[in-house]
Symmetry: C2
Subunit: 297 residues, 2 copies
DNA sequence: GCGCTCCATACCTCCAGAGATATCAGGTCA
DNA sequence: TGACCTGATATCTCTGGAGGTATGGAGCGC
């Protein structure tokens, strides 16, 4: 890459003159007087070392050398204006790419609305959406493998990562339709003490897992886990088969399954928080934009 | 085409720094001190409106905006250096295109050597070679359809067209091998008075035609034309069949045909000139180069 | 011949940018 | 803690280019 020899303003003048083939008109299009244009062209020709235009009285025409230079000059100019526009779009956060990790349970609740409004506000932004459980999201944020995390029960005091609560959901009891408690409108957690539980594995999201088991111990028992499943969809299916019951964020009511009943619980104060997470020091304007779209806190 | 916003020197510095990712090294590669480089980058970032590099202590890295701008800057710079080189090559006559018209009878004599030496001197020049008789060559020169003509018996006083003699050939008599005169080493033109002639049509090259008939009238007779043919090759073939005799430039001896004899003529002073023709005012350096390669005069 | 068009030339102003040196500030490492 | 690396900042000089106005000079049409 050698040092550039031809100044851009001269090349711009060259391209315009090549289009107009008339010094007066070209100068007008450039918004300058005619003599400066003559000078620009002359300087450019001096640098190139050869005439770029033939000036026979009455007609200006490109020389062979000019014809050779013209496409290169055109490409360079358009490349630069396009590149500049793209860089500005990305720099200002009107374009670019944002990598989002989300917990599976949010695929049916907060995620769709969020994506819809963000996409209509920033249509030029490419969104990379990947399902991840909580712990990998935190790791991916540290590794800069994702820019945004959407998770439940944000861990306290994670260094360099910031959280903002987006949604606070009550819990519901997930019961087989045939379960005796399904007859009640509301279920006391303590009433679940004798039923086996179907839960997500703790590793998938320690925060939520501990929250659920915490609710049980608060109610005076330790839940007996009959089965683990990695998706809420599966949890519901297993509950339907009568394998056990579960406690889940209210959002999973959207999973409609015939043999499964969802019932509010008492005490109703038990809630689970959905949070958005990001690197505190991330300069990416898209992160700020996304935070503005989710609102919350 | 809008006015360019980003000066090339800054883009150059940007590209080099993007490659080195180290201000000191990049400055060294640019042959300047480090502070000016910091300034250049800063100015560029100010224009773009966004940071192009992230300077965390210990490591310099491109930002998303910088990654967006980099390929455009690279392309623009290489386009310009390439375009400049091409324009200079064409301007100086080291490259480009030259259109040459030539008389068919020269395809076997002056043309091959001329093309060979020109091509080895200017390998980047594309040669457009087309066969044309004399009159169309002159017209094509005026119309700028060709840049160089190679013809016989250049017309005197053609305005704006210059000629230079490349070769002066004697005439030879073209005889059927069985012709009585084929027994002589040299033939007097007058001896051909009773034989019918095979000639090129006058329109193909009035100069040469008039020259040949002039030789005959000088020898005291008017040639009787038995047949016209548009190529010397055909002339020879017709002579071989015994249809007549001919007078031709010595160069056609290269056409080896069993039944045809070539004999020198008396007086031996009769010669035909091959000339190169060009537009007197042609600024194309390739024309000058070609004239230099043919030499002559 | 006169005026018009069109480009070139001459000459001036002005400023942005490229370059320098000197110095400072934040990290890293021994 | 001090030496060192790395990049930023401050300040100065100087030049080249971009722009202007005024004018010259070659063709062309009437």
């Amino acid at each position: 890459m050698e040092r550039p020899e031809l100044p851009l303003p001269q090349l711009h003048a060259f391209v315009v003159l090549a289009e107009e083939l008339h010094f007066g008109h070209a100068a007008a299009r450039l918004g300058i007087a005619q003599p400066p244009l003559s000078q620009q062209i002359r300087r450019l020709e001096d640098r190139v070392g050869h005439a770029l235009f033939s000036r026979e009285p009455g007609r200006v025409a490109l020389t062979a050398a000019g014809r050779e230079l013209l496409p290169a000059a055109r490409r360079a100019l358009t490349d630069l204006t396009d590149g500049l526009a793209a860089a500005r779009a990305v720099g200002s956060g009107r374009a670019g790419r944002l990598r989002i990790g989300f917990a599976a349970s949010l695929a049916l609740t907060v995620l769709p609305g969020l994506l819809r409004t963000f996409r209509q506000r920033f249509p030029a932004v490419h969104l990379d959406i990947r399902e991840m459980t909580t712990a990998p999201q935190i790791a991916a944020l540290h590794d800069k493998a994702i820019d945004i995390g959407l998770l439940r029960e944000p861990p306290a005091d994670e260094p360099e990562i910031a959280f903002r609560t987006v949604l606070s959901e009550p819990f519901v009891a997930v019961l087989p339709a045939a379960h005796p408690l399904a007859a009640q409108r509301t279920v006391h957690i303590a009433q679940l003490a004798d039923s086996p539980f179907v839960l997500l594995p703790r590793a998938a999201g320690p925060g939520l897992y501990d929250r659920i088991t915490g609710l049980c111990t608060d109610a005076g028992f330790t839940p007996r886990t009959a089965q683990h499943a990695v998706e809420w969809q599966t949890v519901c299916a297993l509950v339907e088969t009568g394998l056990g019951v579960s406690l889940a964020p209210a959002g999973i009511r959207r999973i409609r399954l015939k043999g499964v009943a969802f019932r509010g619980i008492a005490p109703g104060t038990a809630r689970t928080r959905v949070a958005v997470a990001w690197r505190e020091a991330d300069p990416n304007p898209l992160v700020a934009h996304l935070l503005a779209t989710v609102g919350g806190e």
